[in-house]
Symmetry: C2
Subunit: 422 residues, 2 copies
């Protein structure tokens, strides 16, 4: 895929665009050329999008796949409304968590039978961290936690540590490999930092943890669906992720839990709900864990959210994650280039790494007046989001194009320069 988004010319020099957007014409033409050559461009039509908006918040809530409303009308009207209780069996509701897990699996490099969908990311972090302490065994009393993580992972890890008697060591993800030692039970690390968009070294960190006899637990919220993860290939032990960002599952759609096949028979959940029982309808007074990934289930699955997610995953049919990654890098490169060319000097500072190996699929710009800038951007049809001190723009390769990136940078420059809309 490396040639697909090859540039027709050397990138425009990063001109300080103090007033006149000097490179605009050339960059607009370049964007149009890149869009015309983009092999993923046709996927945009699968989504409910309007041309008035540049939607750069798919890293927070993915756009609606256009076929989902009809599917949900059938789920609600016929499966619930007419078949009612029979749908648990006849409509396949009961097995949705593991079936959807197997749909997510190829997107994160996992063989079938290792992922179940359900619960929130926070709840899955709790399951994964507690289960990992149990897999690590006695004598390992430390949990390493990514100090820059999305806060919920840290809060939940702290609670898990309090309940299991472990000690939390918060540190920069880059320092995890060097910090792992014979007291380390596990490390919980985000694959991509939600603020900066920095991609952490999953293969190297996982290998270093294993060398120290510890387990690697990865949070894939900001990487799944945006870049190759390679859970099996890199020997990850446990992983969690959400599905409402790059997987477009809908607001608050179910999260998922990956338990590597080699750990499943010793996976010991702190939330052993009835749907993870070996005989859930036997209603036995004692718990006996089911075999396989379903051991990560807890309570009755939330079917409406679950089946919207399942339908949403259809957009991945025939799409390779390597192709998505190639476009993602080309898009974020191009956006950074447009920002450098257009935006008044000194008003924003990219904090997303320039190196491809360290970049996820978003661009974060430090900006002093971010709380004023983002609402105005949204008013002008460029939807990103705000994190403390930051403008955050997510690039979802299935539905964002190069002309979108150029327009977003141009509108950002207008807002920062105090120019009116075009």
């Amino acid at each position: 895929m490396s040639d697909t988004y090859e540039r027709a010319q050397a990138p425009a020099p990063a001109l300080p665009g103090d007033a006149g957007r000097p490179a605009a014409s050339a960059l607009r033409e370049e964007a149009a050329r890149l869009d015309a050559a983009d092999p993923l461009a046709g996927h945009r039509a699968k989504f409910a999008l309007d041309d008035a908006t540049v939607y750069l918040d798919g890293n927070s809530l993915g756009a609606l796949p256009a076929h989902v409303p009809a599917r949900m009308a059938d789920v609600i009207g016929r499966e619930w409304g007419e078949l009612r209780i029979r749908s648990w069996d006849e409509s396949g509701w009961w097995t949705a968590p593991e079936r959807i897990g197997d749909r997510i699996a190829p997107l994160v490099g996992a063989a079938a039978g290792q992922i179940v969908a359900g619960d929130s990311t926070s709840v899955n972090v709790f399951k994964a961290v507690v289960a990992a302490t149990r897999l690590a065994g006695e004598g390992r009393d430390e949990i390493l936690v990514d100090a820059s993580t999305f806060p919920t992972d840290g809060y939940i890890a702290e609670s898990a540590a309090r309940m299991t008697g472990h000690r939390i060591v918060a540190l920069d993800p880059a320092d995890v490999p060097g910090a792992a030692n014979d007291r380390t039970a596990l490390a919980l690390v985000n694959h991509v930092d939600y603020r900066t968009g920095r991609l952490h070294d999953l293969p190297g960190t996982t290998a270093a943890l294993h060398a120290a006899g510890a387990l690697a637990v990865w949070d894939l919220c900001h990487s799944a669906g945006a870049l190759p993860v390679g859970l099996d290939a890199h020997g990850v032990d446990l992983a969690v992720g959400c599905t409402y960002k790059y997987l477009n599952g809908g607001p608050g759609s179910p999260a998922y839990l990956y338990v590597a096949e080699r750990h499943q028979d010793r996976f010991d959940s702190p939330l052993p709900g009835w749907t993870s029982h070996a005989a859930p309808f036997g209603m036995e007074p004692g718990y006996r864990a089911a075999d396989g990934a379903v051991r990560g289930r807890v309570g009755t699955p939330d079917i409406l959210s679950m089946l919207a997610l399942e339908a949403a995953l259809d957009v991945w049919d025939g799409v390779g994650i390597e192709a998505v990654r190639a476009k993602s890098l080309a898009l974020t490169d191009f956006f950074l280039e447009c920002v450098a060319a257009y935006v008044p000097a000194g008003r924003v500072t990219p904090i997303t790494p320039a190196a491809h190996a360290e970049r996820g699929s978003q661009v974060a710009l430090a900006c002093e007046d971010a709380p004023d800038v983002m609402p105005e951007l949204i008013r002008r049809g460029v939807v990103g989001d705000l994190r403390p001190g930051l403008l955050r723009f997510g690039f979802t390769p299935l539905y964002v194009g190069f002309s979108d990136a150029e327009r977003a940078a141009r509108v950002l420059a207008d807002v920062l320069a105090g120019r009116p809309s075009d």
Copy 2:
């Protein structure tokens, strides 16, 4: 309400209906008379139901309220599809868990601000049991658990006890008051037994626990929406429940957690996810719990399931739970009478208590050949469900009538007698 369903004549004697359904004509007339006088009869039109089916499984999955499909089309098509990320604020998604909690509150006798919707019942049992051990304080190392409970409560309580260092004592709910002592941290009890339909003594059990200095945690899955609960009036400490049975929220719709106002400032959740933080968008590295019921939240709420539930709760507008209870008792009385009159002697044995004070809103019939009988009942349009050794029939007063009850008993008698369908 006590006179509303008064019988026109003394109940028919319990004739052994070995072949000819001797009392059928009289009971059908009585059913029609009771339906005509039923002040709740008009609510049936709010649901998507067909007259070919007698749906007696609303205690497992409530019927679809007829207005929910249109509401969900708007949630999916406009709120997600058009407003996208803006809906977290503009469509009120963010506050849905506590807003829905306040809608459930009057149905279970709670003042506003004490309930949040979200997660599964199992996950909420974990929060409630762990938090109750922390509220109970040091020196109380026993957790009493209803031995006849729906299994997930027992499995989760066992896991909580393992993690907090408590000891589980499983016993009959009737024995909980006598067993509570100065080592008891809490008791976890089902308000209505899922198998037998027995209603347990919530006021008396709660008072006895309090007298021993222990907390009362109630599971309301089989009582909320079917009968008055009186959480505040009886001083319950914590409670959980599902919303897909008598509350008609949809398959696997979010459960809820009640934390009595007096405990909220010391409620210490084992699942302190970011949405329960005092400043969730501050993205602070340290956890600070929000005030109030929202402290029971965990991760990002599953909006599609959540908003279907919210819409479904509209069917309760103008309905008093006392009226529902009066009809529920009249319905289950009448069904038991029809069963006694029609069903061949010795083929089924009601295990649901005859005393009103001990009865929920379902009738369970022990039946040796239940696994053969229920599928045939369903084939003939009478939908109940099967639990080990039992035929279970739920009576949902908002949409089940007396003629439904009579027909169900008549079809049951036909199936057991080997008679063909009418």
